[in-house]
Symmetry: C2
Subunit: 817 residues, 2 copies
């Protein structure tokens, strides 16, 4: 069914853009606008929605997920010319355009289309430090006759609480309220009562009309593909009272041959103090809106804001620039992977075209891991995030699994007992300190469970995280798994037979039996990181104590964690093995292989290499590395959600991309650059441009999951954008394949690149210095020695000591066998 | 904007049908299919969805609320004839039909359309005792040439949990599974795991093809209005794996001139025992589906099931048949009001085109009140419902506000403390016993809070309900309001300033101050009912005790509940008056006027009449009686949600129809038949056929709310179908206007009809007897005496004693001034 040769787009690296050449991509291909709390999701035909900080509680515009037609609803511009009408960005009208192009850039998206000799362009972005989307729209008459055009904007307001908006119609069909003032259409639903915020949609030109009532604009039983107002070429000047408030401007635009005009639309959000809410009874205070509008009152001003945004991104991406013999590698690492890292950092798993924005807050484990690909970009944001996460830790060292972005408080509905959660705080913190040298974060006083009366230093929080594992060991001395570890869907204490129960919040197991080898590896890895941190901060005795626990854990893994050819995955609630050759299905899992080998386990006795060989033999496919094999053909209540998926999908033997970098790192640690890069190239989207049609998802970002060998369509990707794959892949590629790795002492240079790469070039800002690193690969039989020259001077080791350098430096690295 | 003369339909009382003559009704006009747990909502163009018992957890088909285009998604039939194609029921294709008709009947809906000389008909219903929707589809060639038609069915499966289906895409785009077997398309998502139920869609004819994958059927970015398969005239035989499973049959149908063919489609639901789920590994057990299908394997069998359903409804509606000089009155009372009573009884407030089916369980107060218009129809179901409700009562007499239909357990998320809840159990129980004489319900052992270890007789539950009021009195000796009384939106203990908080579940007030006059009236009314019940059951001492409390309450209302011209509504959390002339807004409320007068308060001292005059002066509009006046122009956190609505909508001075019958009854009790009938005629939809365009909602059923005088569009109706208005209106009309009122001793005949009605005729089944009652109205100056002749014999009183009669009897009643 799929024409595998079809391409829908390509990279334009010079402009830091992805160019989409068809409005009919296999699925909507989206971009994110906004970095500072005001966010928009925008598809390649303008679909999507906008929110302020919290996509559940502060949703500005309405969007219908899993809709028919797909991706209907967004910021639309209808152009009508005589009896013809079309959509500027290719949809929702079905009119075929003469030309269509969508360019997703860094924080902006530009549509260009041609029809009836009219070239139309819309550039959509959220300016820096601004709570608004701005659209610069231009229309140019490329023909030989005068054009009298009608331009209609359209967007549909969400009544703020996206969940209530989609469910509580007996209330919300009666609450919608708008105000109209000149060329600005205000949405003020619930402003009368408990909200101190409104939204508006403005254009910097006089209107020929407007509509604020959806039914009036669309007409009875019509869709966004055929609004009656566009057909009639005349707005109805409708005033919404309840039902569905929208905002639509009607503009009459006459263009002589060769003439071009441009307009600026601003869709913004304002918060007001309680006492300043009203200009007069019933009339909202428009001062803040007008101030915001004034900042973009001309095309020039809007263009300047766009240029500023582009410059911001250029500088951000300039902090680490790589050049390898492999352009796909560079495209991902230099542009799109870092861009995606920002998005995952900002949004955790809350709002994508697969995450509906109402189900989840900021995940504890997710958000900690999301920092590792982002810390070098905006470390001050990472500092704040780590402390926010730390504040949701409970006094016993356990963690709320999620917190709410508006309140930053732990989400009691989901609770905790995901026993891998605590130790991720060590990863994020150590990674942050290594990048920045900012040990002061450890001294910050941070409450437990957001209770200001019970605080400790952030260091103490890490200590309690460590102890939470120590205090929660099972019969084999391995960490208890709790509700689940990193694999949410391996629910060993749930035993659910009721389809209305959540696998994640139901717990029946005594919870003192089921153990996780993944957490064991994680504990050895990040426990050792904590011990090192202790040494770095003068807590030598604590380091010794910690190492005793870590050594015990190593012994427990040695004794009870090895299955003969690979690491076990877990012991279930009855003490039976999971991920063993003994099991009829689910014999081998990826997570424990990755985490045990990353932790250094089995490096000395050959088990690590055996485990990696087992991964290669049993789990690797053309499309990435599967989570486990064989897939579960039946539901097993003692394993939980993992066995609920059809074989080959999600955790049931899908390629769950997040964990693939763990194997990439493990292979690099075992000095297998060929395997490491091979796995990376199967995973990284920039390598997969010839698989666009098969994969369906955006070919410029990682997806959470790719269908595995057991599925109906191996290689099909789902759940794009919001996945820990982004930060982990970046971390693996830069710190382990390229080997540019911040440590406490300085920047370590330890590439693990294949022998057919003759060298690499990395420009890296690190603390006060900016290193221009050229690596020459002379190692033909494995890299055994690394010589480092800095500004012509040879270093004793392959670490550039941070204390010695600031400013710009040339580094020449030679890899020798 | 509205053409007020437009009519979209009319009653066909001979066939017990409402005939809709346009697919473009102002809003979708729906019907309900199914009475016994399997339910379908079906609009006048086939839109809507189907579920088994619980619209949240067992949703069969997918429906998108508040969609664009409006009402997209349902059971669709596409007919293609050469290059033309259309939708049998008028939508979702835009093709204009030559003729269209939709007939909503009692539990079935029939569409007839004509296009290209093809007359197509689909009759949709849920047969009695059947977990399936059945569609009898016929096609007739009315032209002179052979027709080679393609017929495509279409429906989209919901992945069972309607909430998860609409939010959790990172999971549910990977879980969809189907099986195809002959002409039956099975939906088996999650059957592998915890579900023991599947759905199927069958047609009794060999297929030319099928589709089970939505994207394949519709084509990229297409909608239900233009599926690619219909355009291509050929199914793709697609097999869904994940994404969106659908069911579409493709049938080739050749028709000679004059030829007619008919098919039977069955969309069904099967539950299996765990051990019988599979025919073989991965293959579901189809035996129960095939058994179900076999019952409707021919048009004749399906037609017989439809006839059986029609007969069932004729007999149900035959239990009470009225004939008055007012045909609108009769249309409502004899057909549509009773039909709506069944629907509200079955569904409480869970699933309509305004209630999304995922937000609410069965309401305690709602469900108790819903029985009063339904008990005479199916008393055994009412008995079960009352006991289910009783079982959710807590030991202290308070009630869970809702219970879940699948488990019948109280909904802890919502909790209780709606202090009017408890006493509604007295109303439903006494009403049930009066209708049936079944005092045994009082002796049933019923658990408290569904805890089988703590039970009491149902009588004891009523006693505790009574005591709950006695134990929760405020500073004036009036009942504490708790979170709210009947008016959910009068939240006197909430004080919310956070828009993310629920008004209903947030409580900050100490809850021992704010008092409700509505509950005071309710307590006097149903407390007295309980006291009478005590006397009826030999609990004379308890009756005396109860009456002491009731008398105290009467005194408290006398002393603290009168505002000078009307009854106060409440005291707020600071002890200030609500619903007083002292208040700048919200001076007079309807609820306390209705309940105090219904309770007999103020009848002796003129206050009742004053209160009713105040209602007439301040609250009555052309479209019904408003909840309060003046509307709240600003939000008041001490009043809560009521002040959050725009003026004129919902509880903020909308016409909240549920409470209008309380005034209708009150006026009848005060012997004001003209006002009583006038108010009824403003409320009852059968009187309002010339206002179809203004009202928008279905003109054959009550709506929860009609916009009030302060709104932008007074008279516009919302939230149709699921409203307590149905049972209360029926109860008011039959028991108070017509005055045919079951009592413990027998059937009281006490009409309160206007002098210009020369008489009425009522046929009423009551216990073992069937009375044919002719009322002759000779009262020209008010009804002061009622003479009753039964079978020619004069009764001493206007009560027909139940013990004396069984079988059929002629009753002649004469009303005299």
């Amino acid at each position: 069914m799929i024409d595998s040769t079809t391409k829908y787009g390509h990279f334009d690296n010079d402009n830091y853009e992805y160019v989409i050449t068809s409005p009919f991509t296999p699925s909507p291909w989206i971009n994110y606008l906004g970095n500072d709390g005001f966010h928009g999701l925008i598809s390649n035909t303008g679909g999507g929605y906008t929110f302020f900080r919290d996509p559940k509680f502060r949703r500005l515009t309405r969007y219908r997920y899993n809709n028919v037609p797909v991706d209907t609803g967004g910021r639309y511009f209808y152009i009508s010319d005589g009896d013809d009408a079309w959509s500027l960005a290719g949809r929702p009208m079905d009119t075929v355009l003469d030309n269509y192009e969508c360019r997703h850039g860094m924080g902006y998206t530009r549509f260009t289309s041609n029809k009836n000799d009219i070239e139309a362009q819309a550039t959509c972005f959220v300016p820096l430090h601004t709570t608004a989307e701005v659209y610069i729209v231009s229309l140019e008459n490329k023909g030989a006759v005068n054009k009298q055009l009608n331009l209609f904007s359209f967007l549909e307001w969400c009544l703020w609480n996206a969940e209530d908006d989609a469910t509580n119609f007996q209330r919300n069909l009666s609450t919608g309220e708008v105000e109209i003032s000149g060329s600005t259409l205000f949405h003020k639903t619930e402003f009368r009562e408990r909200r101190n915020h409104y939204a508006f949609y403005h254009v910097n030109r006089e209107l020929a009309g407007f509509d604020t009532c959806r039914d009036s604009f669309l007409g009875p039983y019509r869709g966004m593909h055929n609004p009656i107002v566009v057909e009639n070429k005349q707005a109805n000047n409708s005033h919404a009272h309840g039902f569905a408030p929208i905002a639509s401007h009607h503009l009459k635009i006459d263009l002589a041959p060769g003439e071009k005009t441009s307009l600026v639309f601003v869709m913004g959000y304002c918060e007001l103090d309680q006492e300043d809410k009203w200009a007069s009874p019933g009339v909202i205070n428009k001062v803040p809106a007008n101030e915001l509008i004034a900042r973009f009152s001309s095309t020039e001003k809007a263009q300047a804001a766009l240029d500023e945004l582009k410059l911001y991104w250029r500088e951000l991406l300039n902090k680490c620039v790589v050049k390898t013999p492999d352009s796909a590698f560079d495209t991902s690492i230099n542009i799109w992977n870092q861009y995606q890292n920002m998005v995952t950092f900002n949004l955790s798993r809350s709002a994508s075209f697969y995450e509906s924005g109402i189900g989840r807050g900021m995940g504890f484990r997710d958000s900690n891991q999301d920092t590792i690909g982002f810390t070098h970009m905006v470390p001050e944001k990472v500092r704040e995030r780590i402390l926010d996460l730390s504040a949701t830790q409970k006094a016993d060292g356990s963690a709320f699994h999620q917190y709410q972005p508006l309140t930053k408080k732990g989400n009691a509905n989901i609770g905790g007992n995901f026993n891998d959660d605590p130790m991720w705080l060590v990863l994020s913190t150590c990674n942050y300190i290594k990048e920045t040298g900012d040990f002061s974060i450890l001294d910050e006083l941070v409450p437990f469970n957001n209770d200001e009366t019970n605080s400790g230093t952030h260091f103490e929080h890490l200590h309690r995280a460590f102890n939470h594992v120590v205090n929660n060991l099972g019969p084999h001395g391995l960490p208890l798994i709790g509700r689940a570890d990193w694999n949410d869907c391996l629910n060993l204490n749930c035993f659910s037979t009721d389809p209305n129960e959540s696998f994640q919040t139901t717990q029946r197991g005594a919870s003192d039996v089921a153990e996780s080898l993944m957490i064991a590896g994680q504990f050895v890895l990040y426990g050792e990181e904590f011990a090192i941190l202790c040494e770095q901060t003068g807590h030598e005795e604590l380091a010794v104590t910690c190492r005793k626990h870590i050594d015990k854990m190593r012994e427990a893994v040695d004794k009870h964690g090895w299955d003969g050819e690979w690491f076990l995955r877990a012991y279930d609630a009855k003490g039976n093995k999971v991920g063993s050759v003994e099991n009829p299905e689910g014999k081998i899992f990826i997570e424990s292989q990755g985490f045990c080998v990353m932790a250094g386990l089995g490096h000395d006795n050959g088990r690590a290499a055996l485990a990696m060989d087992a991964v290669a033999e049993h789990l690797v496919t053309d499309y990435g590395i599967m989570l486990q094999q064989p897939a579960f053909s039946e539901y097993d209540k003692y394993l939980g959600e993992i066995s609920s998926y059809p074989p080959g999908y999600k955790e049931n033997a899908g390629i769950f991309c997040h964990n693939n970098p763990w194997i990439i790192i493990s292979e690099a640690m075992l000095n297998n650059p060929t395997r490491s890069l091979d796995y990376f190239s199967k995973l990284c989207p920039s390598y997969l441009q010839d698989k666009q049609a098969l994969r369906r998802s955006e070919p410029y970002v990682y997806s959470q999951m790719v269908a595995g060998a057991d599925s109906a369509m191996p290689g099909q990707a789902k759940n794009s954008w919001l996945t820990g794959t982004a930060s982990w892949s970046y971390y693996a590629a830069v710190q382990y394949i390229l080997g540019i790795r911040p440590e406490y002492e300085g920047l370590r240079i330890a590439p693990c690149i294949p022998s057919d790469w003759d060298g690499i070039h990395v420009k890296r800002q690190f603390r006060d210095a900016y290193y221009d690193i050229s690596v020459v690969n002379k190692a033909e039989n494995g890299i055994n020695k690394i010589n480092v020259l800095i500004d012509g001077e040879e270093l004793a080791d392959n670490i550039i000591p941070y204390a010695k350098y600031s400013g710009r430096h040339q580094v020449i690295v030679t890899l020798v066998s």
